[in-house]
Symmetry: none
Subunit: 423 residues, 2 copies
């Protein structure tokens, strides 16, 4: 089944509103095994809408159209549909009745004004369906072999009509399709591996999994691998996906931190919680980014005890006990300071682990030996030597901070993985 | 000038990502007086991309294409462009040089792997422009009378190339158009005022400024007022804008914290710097969000001395000196604790001001008197009584944290404004 979406409205092409309706519908359709082929956004321009309707109907089996069904003079999507179909607009008695009932329920006059009457006018031969969440009805029209659904653009009404009326019809048609394909989907989330490296590791596996489509997505500092299996039955699709996922996980190893909707910070906190471990962090160049990411997760307080944003030498000493002599001899951006910060914040908070990060985020600062982008990250823990890593990051201040926070948290996650693997 | 956008990528038609790049570009173009005519999203399907390129080029003067320029095998937008133009792909020596330089700067091998080499292959006769924020270049191609810009889909790179390369070219072409209207634009950024209140305050002024279009944009926790003046000459547009801005500023008063690109944290730090004041913050429910926002600004370290993320009672006492008796009698979420945190972090860091915030961000926690969403914010300073405000916020954990951080910072900004107004 070929499906296209058409969204109308000046607000969608002038930067006032981001089209999230389509994202919602695309995800629902993808769950049904349908990949939307095209989404088109046009402004409130009659010939553009009419042309887009005809073009979509010439290509697709189903077109879902949204916007322009309301009571105001810039709502004329159905008039464009009538023009495309070559039929007149007619006042529909069923819609009139629904509108009168709706207004009566709200204590409003049953004498519809001109704007309200507009909503009862639909293309001749089309089928109206009552809107449970608003006034303008869903309208279904057939053009050639294509079925077009017209929905209001208001997200609440759009979703109510989609879930209640449009998707059940599409599901029925899909189930009636001979030889239809079933799909299964997995997102593997990795960190610490560049997109081109990820591609090189994984793509050699693709030929062994002909039923699985491999795709990539960058979501800095993470890179995600998308696997989509397609087969004549759900069990075959599930099996093909499972085999591809197992192969990919084998080559990607510990770079994979989670799957599907699993977020990094939540996954790390969950690992810490399972190990009955607690955590504290001392941050210089990341300025609270690590603490903020961890505490964004509900229930973080049972694992994350405290974070010190030590943006001055004085506070490095006062809060996390970095000896003034270390700062003087090695400077605030050094291996020695990072180690003292990690050990100091762990001691101050009495936690299982202490993380620290200090570096030059830029644009100013840096030294010839440690230019902007140089970051020292350290991990201290009970019964283990404190580790420190020096990394060099490129990009602007935001990017350096983002990747510095990620690398620091990764030191802990990799340690937990190694610890769990050791008997 | 007729402009269309084309965005490619399976993630855009399967509900994984909402296309916010187009919203950004549409708004920038609208500021230049151009309404985008059509936005098309297609998946990673070669014939669909090629067809969409040709169709857009047949209608528009400028097409901005995004996505599919990276190193992986599902990046083939430029190959589709070459097919549409009927030209071969060629390895471009300039792009190769840029890529080698970029990898060398990062200490990576200058021997490009197959994926990296892909990024140097562009349609014959097209013009590459170096990407300041990533690897894949901007590519400019002419098809008939239409100019097509190909950009990476990664928002950071997309925006850098748009602002730095694409929009300046479009602006030059627009300025060469005969009989064009001149525009002047101002964004007034407000905080602490709901969108409907902002609308009610400002819209009565609109009839007195017929040359100015008033628009609104929500960017939580901020609300922005957009003023766009249009006139036959630049001086008339500038004068109309200045008059409207003065009127709006009069009714909005201290809710306006900045204009155009001025960000909240930078504006606040600049105010503190001018007053030769320093700042420290103790955060509980916001978990480092305040520190992170402030330290994202280059040079923050001259004003922001330290932040304590005191996510446990123990650290509230250890780092910012909240007396255990206060915690025991009043609990960690209370006026008394907030005041002790603000005064304590100010004393610990030796700063002019201390801010604190403690509350229930949810979804768990809260008490009958202080349910989820209750937040106490406090401001301590030299020679002034410490202030504390209790607010009640609705929404999920992220929203409560965001607005709690904003309200806390606003206490300081409003204090600085009042102090500056007092002789």
């Amino acid at each position: 089944m070929r499906v296209e979406l058409l969204c109308t409205g000046d607000e969608l092409v002038t930067g006032l509103i981001t089209d999230t309706n389509s994202t919602y519908l695309e995800a629902r359709l993808f769950d049904l095994g349908v990949k939307v082929e095209r989404v088109v956004l046009v402004g409130d321009v009659r010939p553009d809408i009419t042309h887009a309707l005809l073009a979509a109907a010439s290509r697709a089996d189903v077109v879902v159209v949204s916007g322009g069904l309301g009571p105001t003079s810039d709502d004329f999507t159905l008039e464009c549909a009538a023009a495309a179909a070559g039929v007149p607009m007619t006042e529909d008695a069923r819609v009139l009745g629904w509108l009168r009932e709706r207004y009566a329920e709200r204590g409003m006059s049953p004498n519809l004004n001109a704007g309200q009457l507009r909503m009862a006018r639909i293309p001749q031969g089309s089928e109206p369906v009552r809107n449970p969440a608003g006034s303008a009805p869903l309208v279904i029209l057939t053009l050639g072999r294509c079925r077009l659904f017209f929905l209001p653009g208001v997200p609440r009404e759009y979703r109510a009509l989609l879930d209640g009326e449009v998707l059940p019809r599409i599901r029925t048609w899909l189930e009636a399709e001979p030889g239809r394909m079933h799909r299964a989907f997995r997102l593997l989330r990795t960190v610490g591996m560049g997109e081109s490296v990820l591609d090189q590791q994984v793509m050699p596996l693709a030929p062994s999994h002909p039923r699985v489509v491999f795709g990539f997505r960058t979501h800095a500092p993470e890179n995600h691998l998308k696997l989509m299996a397609e087969a004549p039955s759900q069990s075959e699709a599930d099996a093909a996906l499972a085999a591809a996922e197992a192969d990919c996980r084998r080559v990607l190893g510990a770079s994979v931190f989670g799957a599907d909707a699993e977020e990094y910070a939540a996954a790390l906190l969950e690992k810490l919680g399972r190990a009955k471990a607690t955590l504290a962090a001392a941050e210089s160049c990341t300025g609270g980014l690590i603490a903020q990411q961890l505490t964004a997760v509900p229930g973080a307080s049972s694992v994350f005890i405290g974070g010190a944003v030590v943006y001055s030498e004085k506070m490095k000493t006062a809060w996390v006990g970095v000896p003034p002599a270390v700062l003087e001899r090695h400077t605030a951006v050094s291996r020695e300071t990072a180690i003292a910060m990690a050990e100091g914040v762990r001691a101050a908070c009495g936690t299982t682990y202490g993380l620290s990060v200090t570096g030059y985020a830029g644009p100013g600062g840096g030294t010839p030996e440690d230019p902007v982008g140089t970051v020292y990250c350290a991990l201290a823990g009970a019964g283990m030597p404190t580790r420190c890593e020096r990394i060099t990051l490129s990009g602007d201040r935001d990017r350096v901070r983002l990747f510095a926070a990620s690398h620091t948290l990764e030191m802990l996650r990799q340690h937990l993985l190694a610890a769990a693997a050791t008997p």
